[in-house]
């Protein structure tokens, strides 16, 4: 279900998957390929893939109403920016008040924000769209800063 309009630069490509946990590995592989083609270094690729995985997880976990729903991924890239777009057709929901279940959440968005240069979350009646952007000449990410401090 991939459609690379331009395989050399991945300037525009799409991937549509069913809203199933088993597709998360597929989404990560897609993000990894795209990031490599764009030329991100190993740290940058890890961060990009991590952020994408969080956005796709949210779409599957919170956005989709069942496993037959589709999650839409697409890429936009130019010389400076690589943007990964994750879209679902669901309603943005309240966080669960997991009384004694107690797996406190709410870390996904902040993780995305730490790991890529720009996060854009758009909610409208048609669904939720997250855009994650890595700049080629990026300011040092949280991971790199942590590394520099440790080293």
């Amino acid at each position: 279900m991939r459609a690379f309009q331009d395989t050399a630069t991945h300037a525009a490509s799409e991937l549509h998957v069913l809203a199933r946990r088993s597709e998360l590995g597929v989404a990560r592989k897609y993000a990894e390929d795209v990031a490599a083609a764009f030329g991100l270094d190993s740290d940058g690729r890890y961060e990009f893939v991590y952020a994408v995985n969080e956005a796709v997880t949210n779409a599957i976990r919170h956005g989709a109403s069942d496993e037959e729903d589709m999650i839409h991924m697409s890429i936009a890239a130019d010389a400076e920016r690589l943007t990964f777009c994750v879209r679902d057709r669901g309603t943005f929901v309240m966080p669960e008040v997991d009384a004694d279940e107690s797996s406190p959440g709410g870390r996904g968005l902040a993780l995305m924000a730490s790991l890529v240069d720009e996060v854009d979350l758009h909610i409208d009646p048609g669904g939720t769209t997250v855009r994650l952007t890595k700049l080629r000449a990026a300011s040092p990410s949280v991971l790199e800063t942590a590394q520099a401090q440790a080293g």
Partner: protein
């Protein structure tokens, strides 16, 4: 595509009755974090209070799994005490623990031996 595995729990009799080692490997995402949670809860139900989660072979751990670990620490607190230690020397995994603040809730050890030594001292 299974990108992870969950090993058998390891009970170390000589460490006392309440120490258990759980082993997970690969990419711990939302496909596996519910199983990780079930495994941790079962270990607690069985009476274990000093849990060592060996993530030596884990290269990726998502926010749902981080939530499971945070929830496990809270559960142990509720039950009157205990500890969760994590074994990892994967640079990225450790950094995700730092970004999320999980490193304030669990002790991170570079090797299983180090974690076991710490558990013995705590005893």
């Amino acid at each position: 595509m299974r990108t992870f595995y969950i090993g058998d729990d390891v009970q170390l009799e000589h460490m006392g009755p309440d120490v258990a080692i759980l082993v997970v490997g690969g990419e711990v995402d939302f496909e596996v974090s519910p199983q990780l949670k079930a495994r941790l809860m079962r270990a607690i139900k069985a009476g274990n209070r000093r849990l060592i989660l060996d993530l030596t072979d884990v290269t990726f751990i998502d926010s749902t799994a981080i939530g499971v670990l945070a929830g496990t620490v809270e559960k142990l607190d509720e039950l009157g005490g205990g500890s969760l230690s994590v074994v990892s020397n994967h640079e990225k995994v450790v950094q995700i623990f730092e970004i999320t603040g999980l490193d304030n809730m669990v002790t991170i050890h570079a090797s299983r031996d180090e974690a076991l030594a710490a558990a013995t001292v705590t005893r």
